[in-house]
């Protein structure tokens, strides 16, 4: 019962977000701030993780491919496929659920418990639009972030593969281009777009409707991380089923 109520309330919130728009000049400023907080401030960790994840995938693959009949270029092929299809879009999104998600929940939750949201409402502002809309717009840049992550993942794969002595540079580069299906990239970016919507709205929901005080803000962030991850995994499954099979 409670889940049904939550799901209903979540969609009502989504509808409210687009109902009464905040003044454009104010909104513009909020969007730039969110781009800074949500996207720019996450780049460091995304760069770091993508690079090393690419490197580790390559080493793992290389170590498991010791049959001399299998061409070495398969190492690059495997790294490319796993980075583009899953590691960059999905794994990075789970990390973002922890970083960006808990930031969103705790900042909106704090505004709720300290009556800052009431203060917005008193001034006749649609608080869901004011708080959630700029986050959704900022996270429209998320597919670009994932593109960067893919690039760095593959760069990490190249470095680990070539400098680790597992594969020669030209072998890697030819493997990278083997059987390339552009639709896989489209699939990854469509996925990223839906993940971005989840990352912007599910944590917002948990912050916006929370009750209690500072302690509950912490709890809400944890719950928010769990639910955002669960939603990402479910939507990942559904989209993969719809787009690839």
């Amino acid at each position: 019962m409670k889940y049904l109520h939550d799901i209903g309330q979540y969609f009502i919130m989504l509808k409210d977000v687009f109902r009464r728009m905040t003044k454009a000049s104010v909104l513009r400023q909020l969007i730039f701030k969110e781009i800074d907080d949500l996207i720019i401030n996450s780049m460091g960790i995304i760069i770091f993780i993508s690079f090393f994840l690419g490197a580790v995938v390559t080493i793992q693959t290389a170590l498991n491919l010791n049959n001399p009949l299998i061409p070495k270029s398969l190492i690059a092929f495997t790294a490319r496929q796993s980075i583009i299809l899953e590691f960059s879009p999905t794994f990075i999104s789970i990390i973002m659920a922890g970083k960006v998600g808990s930031y969103i929940t705790s900042s909106i939750g704090t505004m709720r418990v300290t009556e800052q949201i009431d203060a917005l409402e008193v001034m006749g502002i649609n608080s869901t639009n004011y708080l959630v809309f700029p986050k959704i717009i900022a996270l429209l840049l998320y597919p670009f972030v994932i593109a960067i992550s893919m690039f760095l993942g593959i760069l990490g794969a190249y470095m680990a593969g070539v400098f680790g002595g597992f594969i020669a540079s030209d072998q890697f580069l030819s493997g990278l281009q083997e059987d390339f299906i552009p639709y896989h990239l489209a699939y990854a970016f469509i996925k990223s777009f839906f993940f971005a919507l989840i990352l912007a709205t599910v944590p917002s929901y948990h912050g916006y409707y929370m009750k209690g005080g500072a302690l509950e803000v912490g709890q809400a962030s944890t719950t928010s991380f769990v639910w955002t991850s669960v939603m990402l995994i479910i939507v990942n499954y559904i989209l993969t089923q719809l787009l690839l099979s």
Binding site: T114, D118, E121, V122
Partner: protein, 254 residues
């Protein structure tokens, strides 16, 4: 002036306000008093239009809120200012930005004109050199003053304050009370203040509404409250020893 008639409000089947009829006067500090949990905040949020009552009418200078369309409600909102219990300043904005916020939302003033208004109200609440500070960098008493400045910057006709001096030391509390009263008189505002602080009742209780378990149990001013025979009121007022002594002195005719 605000006129309230037969106001009912509840949550999940539990009635919190059980039919309140009263008036709040213009140019006066109107106090809503009562124990914690008696429904003061709920009452105030109904007055602000944050909660919609199940039954009853609220009239602002003879305009019935429930008959207004969305646009007219917004216009009425512009004439209201609110000071929240915990100040509710936006912590991502500086003091100046906080105070300027209602002007940015509601007016088409130029940046310089807004700055001028901001500086004027900050001066009115006796704050200097805080424009570029963040709320977390100033004391609780100063935050309250900023909250007052933000509430009055757009020259409201109605000012609402939810326990404006809770969490402050007695001296700061007194200063805040007096500030609100002065501003009310200067600008002829209808001011409504929630409080359970007897010092405030004594100092600025020009019109007092006593709530008990969601009912209006008594109404009067700060002279009358010490003379009333109403038992609920005397129990509330004389729960403090100091006031008990004042009462005894009064009865002895001192």
């Amino acid at each position: 002036m605000i006129k309230v008639e037969d106001l009912h409000k509840g949550f999940n089947g539990e009635e919190i306000l059980k039919g309140i009829t009263t008036e709040f006067y213009q140019g006066k500090t109107n106090l809503i008093i009562g124990q914690s949990g008696s429904g003061k905040t709920v009452f105030m949020k109904c007055l602000l239009g944050l909660f919609s009552p199940e039954q009853g009418t609220i009239k602002y200078n003879d305009v019935d809120y429930s008959t207004l369309n969305a646009e007219e409600k917004r216009d009425l909102r512009k004439k209201m200012g609110m000071v929240f219990q915990g100040s509710a300043l936006f912590d991502s904005m500086t003091i100046a930005e906080n105070v300027m916020f209602p002007l940015r939302m509601f007016t088409k003033l130029k940046k310089e004109e807004m700055m001028e208004r901001v500086n004027k109200v900050l001066k009115r609440v006796n704050l200097k050199n805080v424009n570029h500070k963040y709320p977390s960098e100033i004391s609780g008493g100063m935050q309250k003053r900023v909250a007052i400045a933000r509430a009055i910057v757009n020259e409201p006709k109605f000012l609402f304050c939810d326990e404006p001096n809770s969490g402050l030391d007695p001296k700061s509390a007194m200063i805040i009370d007096n500030l609100i009263q002065e501003i009310t008189h200067e600008n002829n505002i209808t001011t409504v203040i929630n409080t359970h602080d007897m010092n405030s009742v004594l100092e600025i209780g020009e019109n007092i509404i006593f709530l008990q378990k969601g009912n209006l149990a008594w109404q009067g001013n700060n002279n009358e409250i010490f003379k009333t025979e109403n038992e609920a009121v005397t129990n509330f007022v004389y729960s403090s020893d100091l006031f008990k002594k004042v009462r005894e002195a009064q009865l002895k005719g001192l």
